[in-house]
């Protein structure tokens, strides 16, 4: 695997996104990434096309013969679909968040360390999903942690390295239980802002991590 392969979504994650099987929190991070990544978007289209072909070959289930009439009745009644309300652009710490995050609620910033702050991101309809904004000051290394499930991190500003690759804004970092514990380290002089979602609680092994986990609830 080349370093650039680490900056994009895996086939498995794109496939889960394509068929709607990714939890809302993880799907949010994917939407933010896809909005800025042509190559992942092209791969998503491919996996959606596979979904379309597979749907076309599914065996039929019995449906009510009256269903078509009900559909025509709704069409005739002309009930309009709900309008998408315009949602203001969210900001966090003066930073304009990606449009794909519209509708989310951002909680207050909390310090777990002088160089490490986080804010909870509430995804509408999926408030228990573990999604956070993470702001890490230059030079700080996040605690080493393993993963008990899929973890997606989108870099919004600044940059960091985890030993596999150097990540810049727009890059997606995907990690799961097959990955050894990694310790992301912020590079450059700029603070690093990330949007992260995890499927299951992290297994944080270091001392800071053990402090970190109950505080952050992830």
């Amino acid at each position: 695997m080349t370093a650039s392969a680490f900056k994009h979504a895996s086939d498995e994650t794109l496939q889960r996104y394509a068929c709607g099987n990714l939890k809302p929190g993880l799907a949010l991070v994917m939407r933010v990434h896809l909005a800025g990544c042509l190559s992942c978007r092209a791969n998503l289209r491919r996996f959606e096309a596979v979904g379309g072909a597979l749907l076309d070959n599914l065996p039929p289930a019995a449906i009510s013969p009256a269903l078509l009439e009900k559909i025509f009745a709704r069409i005739d009644a002309g009930d309009t679909p709900r309008e998408a309300r315009p949602t203001p652009v969210l900001t966090a710490d003066g930073f304009a968040l990606p449009a794909a995050m519209a509708g989310c609620k951002i909680g207050p910033w909390r310090f777990v360390h002088p160089k490490l702050r986080w804010a909870r991101v509430e995804v509408p309809g999926a408030e228990t999903d573990r999604v956070i904004l993470l702001k890490i000051a230059a030079g700080f290394a996040a605690p080493a942690h393993g993963h008990g499930g899929l973890e997606l991190t989108q870099v919004l500003a600044g940059g960091f390295t985890d030993g596999r690759a150097q990540y810049e804004p727009g890059d997606l970092v995907e990690a799961d239980e097959s990955l050894d514990d990694h310790e992301p380290r912020v590079t450059g002089d700029e603070d690093c802002l990330c949007l992260a979602a995890v499927e299951k609680p992290l297994r944080i092994r270091s001392l800071l991590g053990r402090l970190f986990q109950p505080l952050m609830g992830i």
Partner: protein, 229 residues
């Protein structure tokens, strides 16, 4: 066979009884049909042809043609119901979501852009988004509806032209190249919304085998669909 094809650009009753049989299959003997049905998901010959689907949707978009819409409904509604059932949706909600999906197909028909993919793919994404909306609404929240194609407007560059060339026929051909054991896991991954460990248990396979079969299938499909002919 030719005669059967010639009479059917506008009429297709094969799907009336939910058999999902397209034009080509009506020329089959009764024994042949039974064989096609027995093959279930393998019955690629049992799908309506992509051109038919596009023609029907075009009639809906241009003329609000209800006959054409009924044909799309007969083709897709029973398959969508299968998907929702496999994804664990309760019986009471399956027809609601199928109904919402077909109403959306009627309303959005003029917005369908063949450059983005085939009709099956378009309906797949509509149903996917409605399924997500449905599960989020269960959480009792007022939700912003997800747009189809996720509002991701591709730039009109080389990439989207390549995508436009990825006809459903090509995707089907790519699927035919997968070993049966990979295809089985792939279908589960798409339509059964459950962890891979559950899929492994149901198929009586080790988890690692399921993971590697899915990984191989997806990588192969990606490569086959990247290389435009």
């Amino acid at each position: 066979m030719t005669a059967v094809r010639a009479e059917s650009p506008t009429l297709d009753f094969a799907g009336v009884f939910g058999l999902g049989l397209g034009r080509r299959d009506r020329a089959l003997t009764a024994k042949g049909r039974a064989r096609v049905r027995a093959q279930g998901e393998e019955a690629t010959a049992g799908a309506a042809r992509a051109e038919d689907l596009a023609a029907w949707l075009d009639c809906v978009a241009r003329n609000q043609d209800r006959d054409a819409f009924a044909r799309l409904h007969r083709h897709f509604a029973p398959k969508l119901a299968t998907w929702m059932a496999r994804a664990g949706m309760s019986h009471a909600h399956i027809e609601d979501v199928v109904q919402d999906c077909m109403v959306a197909v009627w309303r959005k028909a003029p917005l369908y852009d063949p450059a983005h993919g085939g009709v099956s793919t378009w309906i797949f994404t509509i149903a996917r988004n409605l399924r997500i909306d449905h599960s989020r609404r269960k959480a009792n929240r007022e939700m912003l509806p997800l747009s189809d194609w996720d509002d991701l407007d591709d730039q009109p560059d080389g990439e989207s032209r390549v995508l436009a060339a990825e006809s459903e026929t090509r995707v089907r051909r790519a699927l035919e190249q997968l070993p049966q054991e990979q295809k089985q896991v792939l279908i589960q991954a798409y339509f059964a919304d459950k962890p891979q460990s559950d899929i492994a248990r149901e198929l009586g396979l080790p988890l690692g085998t399921v993971k590697s079969r899915l990984r191989l299938a997806l990588a192969k499909l990606r490569v086959l669909l990247e290389d435009a002919p």
